[in-house]
């Protein structure tokens, strides 16, 4: 008699009722078999043959059906709980993890897509809803934001806003700004609409000046005589097409001089639109706001420059015709024009156009023409006015030039990428650490968000890889050696998630936010190698610890259940991972020392991406070789490998959910806080209006200086 076979038969029979829970059945079966073995050993002393001792042992066991029934009843509750857990894993946990990953990753990529879309310039109103503009707007708010998109042209769509609010000069001004930029607008229609503006807003010189631009386009042509000179020093020849219209244009300009103000309403319209948009909580939303501000149309500036360039040669013609008084008025036009442009401006470009208008009066051509007037007093007045206004400009340029090298170095080392792009053009003071920090930290936060998304995707991929292993190990395996689902105990799960996920993330948080060792005072462009390595070490550690602790817990249980397990830990686990982490760690030390000593990245250009790929491959290697063993390892250990893989799936699902819970809310809140406190990117703040606070401060300063200078000039005159 084969005693082992008989024991197995009896044990199988006793546990037949537990077959719906294979792991439990195996446990109880082994227990019964072990007890039988002890019993047989006891009865061996009383019997002559082995068969007798076996039968005596079985008889003394009692009624086998009764025992089987007793075992079933005693374990029914546990089986129900296990079944519920398995069902929960299959129906809830794993799908929840997959959906969560796809949702978070999808949301992240959608925001990135919107960001790139907006930065390519696709931020005009007609594209609004496609770029994820807020959808829960009232009809009126949507109209103000987008215009009426059902109309044929952009300007017609903007006109619809004014038609709904005919009392508003802001909406009419906005409409005219759009009409002025549409090059295929019929000239007669354009003039009619601008004249309507003159009628609606009689104190506003803006419409007169726009009309003048239109008239000058038809009346004359400017030809540059000295193209080699800088723009503001060029000399222009006036080619007249319609003299009467030209005269009429300058009549219009002189008429506009008497109006109390010049308002384009660009700022007011931008304010209305920004107020409709919710406060930005994400960088992509903030960049959309910046893009909206950047998309403000300033067609008047071209008209102003056109007037500035046309005036001197026109005055020259008037002087040659003996119309000196009119010529004097025309030559003096630059001053009220420049001051009005300055008063109305809220962007640096407008201030620069005001300076350009002033500078025209210092050009050689202007000076020669003024001399012909034969009024040295007038000439002197114009010169002094222009020089004093230009002194402000020159002071700003001088400061910009002086501070530029320091500014560029500071920005390269300590500023965010956007800040480093925007600030050099402003030429303001060197920004403080308080002003640079939010933008810089925002970029680190965005990279960390991307890392979290990547890690989740990687875990999802590993869940799929585990499923492949399970299927592979199931094929051809008998019912007794199929992979089991063995969930680590609650204590083990707590250890796996605690040490494998929560602890590494907590250590990373302390290292980056509290310790001061993470080099966060350096810009991302300098510190990116170190950051990438830190994140990849973090990812590799999480994947490795989670995988290996789960495998150890499962191995212990498999051993207890009598499933064949490897005698030793694999070489990969013992050596490959520590060596990998060691290499990454050494690389990290080298990067960190280099970047902090020299304040520049160790790799740049094409080497960077190659380096990145190598390190990403290194991270994947922390888990992938293990899966290779699970998939292709010895067939005799197939049930063990399959069980490990099957048991890893819910653990990874749980780990994914934990990574989302630990990283997403915190990083989202941090992004919101940084976006809302960054003085560079903050646009449309209640206190100021401009692309950035730094630009707004600069523009306000220059405006004030111009205003003070004009007051002084007028007091002295």
């Amino acid at each position: 008699m084969d005693i082992r076979k008989r024991i197995d038969e009896i044990a199988d029979g006793l546990t037949a009722g537990l077959e719906s829970d294979p792991a439990l059945r195996l446990d109880v079966r082994n227990e019964m078999a072990s007890h039988l073995e002890d019993k047989i050993e006891e009865t061996r002393q009383e019997c002559e043959t082995e068969e007798e001792s076996v039968e005596l042992a079985v008889k003394s066991f009692g009624s086998l059906p009764e025992i089987a029934e007793g075992l079933l009843q005693a374990n029914r509750r546990r089986m129900t709980i296990h079944a519920l857990i398995k069902w929960g894993i299959r129906v809830a946990l794993v799908p929840a993890a997959i959906i969560l990953v796809l949702f978070v990753v999808g949301g992240g990529f959608a925001r990135l897509g919107n960001l790139f879309y907006a930065m390519e310039g696709n931020f005009m109103w007609s594209h609004g809803p496609d770029v994820g503009y807020p959808k829960n707007l009232s009809e009126d708010e949507a109209l103000i934001l987008y215009g009426d998109r059902s109309r044929d042209t952009e300007s017609a769509g903007q006109k619809a806003i004014w038609e709904k609010h005919p009392e508003s000069m802001v909406y009419y001004g906005n409409y005219i700004s759009h009409l002025a930029t549409e090059h295929d607008t019929d000239s007669t229609f354009f003039e009619k609409e601008v004249r309507r503006g003159i009628g609606l807003d009689p104190d506003n010189a803006r419409y007169n000046l726009i009309l003048v631009g239109n008239m000058l386009d038809r009346a004359c042509e400017l030809k540059r005589i000295d193209p080699v000179k800088k723009d503001s020093e060029r000399t222009y020849e006036l080619i007249i097409k319609d003299r009467d219209l030209l005269d009429e244009a300058f009549d219009e300009i002189l008429k506009s001089k008497r109006k109390p103000h010049m308002k384009t309403y660009t700022r007011e319209m931008l304010r209305k639109r920004l107020d409709i948009l919710p406060t930005a909580t994400r960088l992509t939303e903030q960049i959309r706001r910046i893009a909206m501000a950047a998309g403000c149309l300033l067609p008047d500036l071209l008209k102003h420059r056109q007037i500035e360039r046309t005036a001197p040669p026109y005055a020259d013609i008037l002087i040659s015709e003996g119309k000196k008084e009119r010529a004097k008025e025309v030559l003096g036009l630059w001053y009220p024009l420049a001051t009005r442009i300055s008063d109305e401006s809220f962007t640096l470009i407008e201030i620069l156009v005001a300076f350009s208008v002033a500078k025209m009066s210092l050009s050689d051509q202007y000076q020669e023409i003024v001399k012909k007037l034969g009024e040295p007093g007038f000439a002197e007045t114009q010169r002094i006015r222009a020089e004093r206004i230009m002194a402000i400009h020159d002071g700003w340029r001088e400061q910009k030039k002086k501070l530029q090298p320091t500014l560029e170095k500071e920005l390269e080392e300590s500023a965010g990428i956007l800040t480093a792009l925007l600030l050099p053009a402003l030429g303001g003071d060197i920004p403080t650490e308080k002003e640079l920090a939010p933008g810089r930290h925002l970029e680190y936060t965005l990279v960390e968000q991307s890392w979290a998304l990547t890690l989740m995707l990687l875990m999802l991929f590993l869940m799929l890889a585990a499923l492949v292993v399970v299927l592979r190990r199931r094929i051809g395996a008998g019912p007794d050696v199929r992979p089991l689902l063995i969930l680590p105990s609650s204590k083990d799960l707590l250890r796996i998630f605690g040490m494998g996920v929560a602890l590494p993330i907590a250590v990373f948080f302390l290292y980056t936010r509290i310790s001061g060792l993470a080099g966060r005072h350096l810009s991302l462009s300098v510190n990116w190698c170190g950051l990438v390595l830190e994140l990849l070490i973090l990812g590799a550690v999480i994947l490795y610890i989670t995988t290996s602790m789960t495998a150890d817990a499962v191995a212990a249980r498999c051993h207890a259940l009598g499933i064949a397990v490897p005698e030793e830990k694999s070489i990969l686990r013992c050596y490959v991972f520590p060596i990998l982490i060691g290499i990454l760690g050494i690389l990290w030390i080298v990067m960190v020392v280099f970047s902090r000593k020299y304040s520049r990245p160790m790799f740049s250009g094409g080497v960077g991406p190659v380096f990145l790929l190598m390190v990403i491959a290194g991270c994947i290697l922390s888990s992938a070789p293990y899966f290779f063993v699970l998939l292709f390892g010895k067939k005799t250990l197939g049930q063990y490998y399959g069980t490990v893989a099957r048991s890893l799936i819910p653990v990874f699902a749980g780990a994914v959910i934990l990574v989302v819970l630990l990283t997403n809310p915190y990083l989202s809140c941090e992004e919101t806080r940084l976006v809302q406190t960054d003085p560079v990117l903050a646009v449309g703040n209640k206190e100021y209006l401009g692309f950035t606070k730094l630009e707004a401060d600069l523009v306000q300063r220059l405006k004030k200086e111009i205003k003070d200078t004009v007051k002084q000039i007028e007091a002295e005159e």
Binding site: D27, V28, N30, E31, M32, S34, H35, E37, D38, K39, S60, F61, G62, S63, E66, I67, G70, L71, Q73, A74, N75, R77, R78, H559, A560, G562
Partner: protein, 112 residues
């Protein structure tokens, strides 16, 4: 002396908890120890023992762990949990009160 099966079953839980509270034991060993301590009065069958053990484990009053003996054979050892210790104390108190009450009736002089 053979005892009523229901009576034996009713005391199985406190006896088991008490036995494994002393030291971890496996099923076969538990039967032997109980038999010895009761001088053969309680001869538990496997059909009584294991369902009870598994029920107690399911209620988290005891826990189990497979261990390899020197002989190389693996055995499943049971030990008491903190929850089991609390239950055992309660059961002992209950048993003490129960037996006192029963004795007070059964052992009282006839006619009282």
């Amino acid at each position: 002396m053979a005892f009523d099966r229901d009576l034996v079953r009713s005391v199985a839980e406190p006896i088991l908890l008490h036995v494994v509270s002393k030291r971890p034991m496996y099923g076969y060993e538990i039967i032997k120890v109980v038999n010895e301590k009761t001088d053969g009065a309680f001869v538990w069958k496997e059909g009584t023992l294991y369902p009870c053990l598994h029920r107690l484990e399911g209620d988290r009053l005891i826990k189990s762990q497979w261990q390899k003996a020197e002989s190389g054979r693996s055995r499943k050892y049971y030990s008491i949990t903190p929850k089991g210790t609390v239950r055992l104390k309660g059961k002992l108190k209950e048993w003490s009160g129960f037996t006192a009450a029963v004795e007070a009736v059964l052992m009282a002089p006839v006619g009282v």
